[in-house]
């Protein structure tokens, strides 16, 4: 065995040993999290891994950085084959992969290594320039408490660049040395190495020993740097290189299971902590999210709260989870760090008030993430949707909110009336429950109870929702939709006074207890009438009842009116007037339709069918990228004191389209955008889909 083999074997063993230590440590930290089974529906998980992971679909939602990253990622996959070859060479210098392959494959192998090395080099150079010179806003932090690891990023990028350079140096100089048979080497699929080597064969050719030496330096640089790189990853934000594919596989943000559904809580469990106030109350998957974040900031750049000047930054939330875990976990995991563990025991025994006690005395909530940040969230899901590695920022926010409300009873005071109204009156504004069906007076719409008394059944239950039942503006939506249903001869009924909020706002505000009381109550009523199909014009009701009710035994087909209208119109069931005005309409996507359920085309299709001469225009941010109106996540009931109002920001975008009508498909969006239009002193009407359709209804000519 040669000296170089010995040296390599030693380095390799040390590096792998240390890496194994680091990996075990990180896995042990994950185990501090709560259990969360993630091995169901492996098929969907593999599909996510393929699309979001390997095909980089989310990364590529942004052009420049997306293509650069994808190039580096795919390059890495290819170049890794060469790296493995090199590792084998470390132990067995004669190993030569291309030699073992049939020549076409050897050609492809060599060519792929070259092309991707150069590709990575170009992409990485651009990324370094972007980070140091261009520095887009999302790569800058939020200031205090939101560290952005610029130095680390540049170090890692530089290592990657050096790795690629060393590959090229090695192979190009190797071409100048004699082959195994003593004759000159024939380049095989190595145009770049060949071209580079030509610089050294001109009038003053480089000597064979020098070429050999330089090639070996290239080889060793790469071999050592790969091992260094591997061992740097577990201690840097570039841990995502190792964990993001795993994270994508285990994530539920694009399925399996209902997308956007909050986790049910077992309220009977014997515990002192509801929700999460520190890392060990989060699930292991939330903690893995922390490992997988590379601080790209796409979530924060898409966050309506952040971009309008609020404290919240979804990226910071995830980075804080990792920071806190890496701070606290060594004190809790046996053997992770023996010295500090001893200190923790001492601190627990109350003998020494030292650094460890200080660490244990802190919490993720308050010491890292403040209430103010948590309550700024509109639950619009833009952060989750944008994340290239399928991190669920929203789940952490929700778990912390639950802790604030359920354990500490700590929430903005404006929420108290909403909670009390929901509890006492079944609606968050404390309207009299007796007035719930008042909008339907004189419209000859039966209630489920009336139908049952007559021994009849409805095909469809029209769930009106609290906004639709009590809000003056939203009641017009309700009436318009009911008129369409009648005109289309749909056999439908309402619950009337028996309808009460399903609790979704309470759940989003962290009050799982109140939510479950309300949800179970609603399910009891619905099951009592054996309801199968529900249609509603509120996306929040639609999401809650269709997606989250199954958690408590409520299984219904729930259809949002945008989809239902589209079906009725497509089937020609809605009698409409011919012609009509040439409206220019901008449609505003509700988050709970667009991002939660990917319902973006149906509302537009409904508009086009009902208004054939209309021109549909799109705001700057639209469909899955649509900007929130600002009302979700319980924000409807909270003051918006900091920064610019989200609804004004959104309204400006909608007005900038030049539309003469703004269309919405959510009563909450209706309120927010209408207020925005008023704030901008504009006169553009804001109309619900159903109102635009109902305005075109052909009235029966002979009212008999």
């Amino acid at each position: 065995m040669s000296v170089s083999q010995l040296v390599y074997a030693l380095l390799f063993t040390l590096a792998m040993g240390f890496f194994a230590f680091s990996a075990r440590r990180l896995v042990a930290f994950l185990r501090l999290g709560r259990p969360d089974p993630r091995l169901d529906d492996v098929g969907t998980r593999l599909r996510n891994l393929g699309l979001i992971g390997f095909a980089q679909t989310k990364i590529l939602r942004e052009r420049g950085a997306g293509i650069s990253h994808a190039l580096v990622f795919w390059g890495f996959l290819v170049v890794t084959v060469g790296t493995v070859e090199q590792m084998v060479q470390g132990f067995w210098p004669a190993f030569d992969l291309p030699h073992l392959l049939p020549s076409p494959l050897a050609f492809v192998f060599n060519l792929s290594q070259e092309i991707f090395s150069v590709g990575i080099l170009v992409a990485v150079s651009w990324l370094i320039w972007r980070r140091t010179v261009a520095t887009p806003k999302r790569l800058r932090g939020e200031g205090k408490g939101d560290p952005v690891h610029h130095g680390e990023a540049i170090l890692i990028l530089s290592i990657i660049a050096t790795l690629m350079l060393s590959i090229l140096v090695e192979s190009s100089f190797e071409l100048l040395t004699p082959g195994p048979d003593g004759g000159p080497r024939e380049p095989l699929g190595q145009p770049i190495a060949r071209w580079l080597s030509l610089f050294f064969v001109g009038s003053d050719p480089i000597t064979v020993p020098t070429a050999h030496l330089v090639s070996r330096i290239g080889w060793w640089t790469h071999a050592v740097l790969v091992l260094v790189f591997l061992n740097l990853l577990p201690y840097s934000k570039h841990l995502h290189v190792l964990t993001s594919l795993i994270n994508t596989f285990f994530s539920n943000t694009s399925g399996p299971g209902p997308v956007g559904a909050m986790k049910p809580m077992d309220l009977e469990a014997e515990t002192d902590v509801y929700g999460a106030s520190d890392v060990e109350h989060l699930s292991w998957k939330n903690l893995l999210d922390g490992y997988s974040c590379t601080e790209c900031g796409r979530c924060t750049a898409a966050c309506p709260a952040n971009t309008t000047g609020k404290m919240l930054s979804p990226r910071k939330i995830v980075v804080n989870v990792r920071q806190r875990l890496l701070e606290k976990a060594p004190l809790l995991v046996p053997g992770a760090d023996a010295a500090r563990r001893g200190a923790a025991e001492q601190a627990a025994a109350g003998t020494v008030a030292d650094a460890a006690a200080k660490v244990l005395g802190k919490k993720l909530l308050d010491d890292y993430i403040t209430e103010e940040e948590l309550w700024a969230c509109t639950s619009c899901r833009a952060c989750v949707y944008e994340c290239p590695v399928s991190i669920d920022q929203l789940e952490v926010i929700n778990e912390l909110r639950r802790n604030l409300v359920l354990t500490e009873s700590r929430f903005p005071e404006e929420l108290m009336p909403a909670f009390e109204g929901l509890e006492q009156k079944g609606n968050p504004w404390s309207f009299a429950p007796a007035d719930r069906g008042a909008w339907a007076e004189g419209m000859d719409i039966p209630t489920m109870a009336e139908l049952q008394a007559r021994g009849e059944k409805a095909d469809v239950l029209f769930w009106v929702g609290c906004m639709g039942s009590f809000d003056e503006r939203a009641k017009k939506i309700t009436v318009a939709f009911a008129r369409i249903l009648k005109a289309a001869d749909v056999r439908f009924a309402i619950l009337g006074q028996e309808e009460a909020c399903h609790g979704d706002p309470a759940r989003r505000m962290g009050n799982e207890y109140l939510y479950q009381v309300l949800a179970k109550g609603a399910i009891e009523v619905l099951n009592g009438y054996e309801v199968k199909t529900i249609v509603t014009h509120c996306p929040h009701c639609f999401h809650q009842m269709g997606t989250e009710f199954p958690q408590f035994g409520g299984h219904y087909e729930v259809i949002h009116h945008s989809e239902y209208l589209e079906r009725l119109l497509a089937d020609g069931r809605v009698p409409l007037e011919q012609g009509g005005d040439k409206l220019v309409v901008a449609y505003h996507d509700s988050c709970y339709l667009g991002r939660y359920h990917e319902i973006t085309e149906q509302p537009r299709a409904a508009l086009k069918r009902a208004l054939p001469v209309m021109t549909l225009v799109e705001p700057a941010r639209t469909k899955s990228r649509g900007l929130c109106c600002g009302a979700g996540g319980g924000r409807m009931w909270m003051e918006e004191k900091d920064g610019k109002r989200i609804n004004v920001e959104r309204t400006e975008e909608l007005l900038a389209t030049g539309a003469d009508t703004i269309a919405v498909a959510c009563p909450f969006c209706m309120t927010m955008i209408s207020d925005g239009v008023t704030a901008k002193s504009a006169a553009t009407p804001v109309m619900d889909l159903s109102e635009l359709v109902a305005a075109r209804l052909r009235e029966p000519t002979a009212a008999s």
Binding site: D272, V405, T407, S409, E413, K425, A432, Y513
Partner: protein, 251 residues
């Protein structure tokens, strides 16, 4: 500090009431019930006193049928320590009958402070607290909007008057009835709700005093007349002004 808080279960007042067939009470079908608002303030005031001073024990007391246990549990979920139900088939109108029952229970309890709401929001009698004080021979300050018992010996209370306030003191033990302004009642956390399930709730028969005052008749106020539209433009203004002066007498 050992504190007792008397709590009444009352219907949600933001309801369109109906009169029961008896003609002397409201029809309770479909009504929602909760703790009387002022009793909530009293419970919160008690909690804050003991949180500030540390230690102590707060007992919630309610008189009525078993449904009042729900209201007592709510008080426990806010953080009160234990509860006593003085069981009676119904809550009589006569405050004296109630006061005797409460006094009988409170007498042996060696409480430092006994808190009531300023009044029950359904019956608006404002009488039970002061009567209990009288029966127990304790000083009483009513309708208190700020309360200080930090020295453990005296009550320093502030009472709101029309355009002024006064500070009233008396020695402990004492009975104090609480007005709004003391503190907003806290929202029970789930932790509190779960803890409340395990806190003691004692049920005793209410030793009601003699009932001498009873409700003879209850009636709803007359329906409000519908609004009138006088006209649609400036022509209607003189008539409007005339009616506001002569009929509504607001100008």
């Amino acid at each position: 500090m050992k504190i007792a808080v008397a709590i009444k279960r009352v219907p949600d007042m933001d309801t369109r009431f109906k009169i029961a067939p008896s003609g002397t009470a409201v029809d309770e079908t479909g009504l929602k019930f909760d703790m009387s608002d002022f009793d909530g303030y009293a419970a919160e005031a008690a909690l804050q006193i003991n949180e500030k001073q540390g230690g102590g024990e707060i007992t919630a007391i309610s008189l009525g049928p078993d449904v009042v246990q729900e209201t007592l549990r709510k008080a426990l979920s806010m953080g009160l320590d234990k509860a006593v139900q003085l069981k009676a088939d119904a809550v009589p109108f006569d405050g004296y009958a109630i006061a005797e029952a409460l006094a009988a229970e409170l007498k042996g309890g060696s409480y430092d402070l006994i808190l009531f709401g300023r009044m029950a929001i359904d019956s608006s009698n404002q009488s039970v607290g002061p009567m209990v004080a009288e029966l127990l021979g304790l000083p009483c300050i009513s309708a208190v909007s700020q309360l200080d018992v930090s020295d453990g010996k005296t009550v320093k209370a502030r009472r709101e008057l029309e355009g002024a306030y006064e500070e009233v003191t008396c020695p402990l033990p004492a009975v104090v009835t609480i007005d709004e302004g003391v503190a907003r009642p806290r929202y029970p956390s789930l932790k509190g709700i779960m803890a409340a399930k395990k806190k003691p709730l004692e049920v005793k028969p209410a030793q009601l005093g003699p009932v001498t005052a009873t409700v003879a008749k209850m009636e709803l106020p007359p329906e409000r007349a519908a609004g009138r539209i006088l006209g649609e433009n400036a022509d209607a203004v003189p008539e409007l002004v005339r009616l506001l002066q002569t009929e509504a007498k607001v100008l």
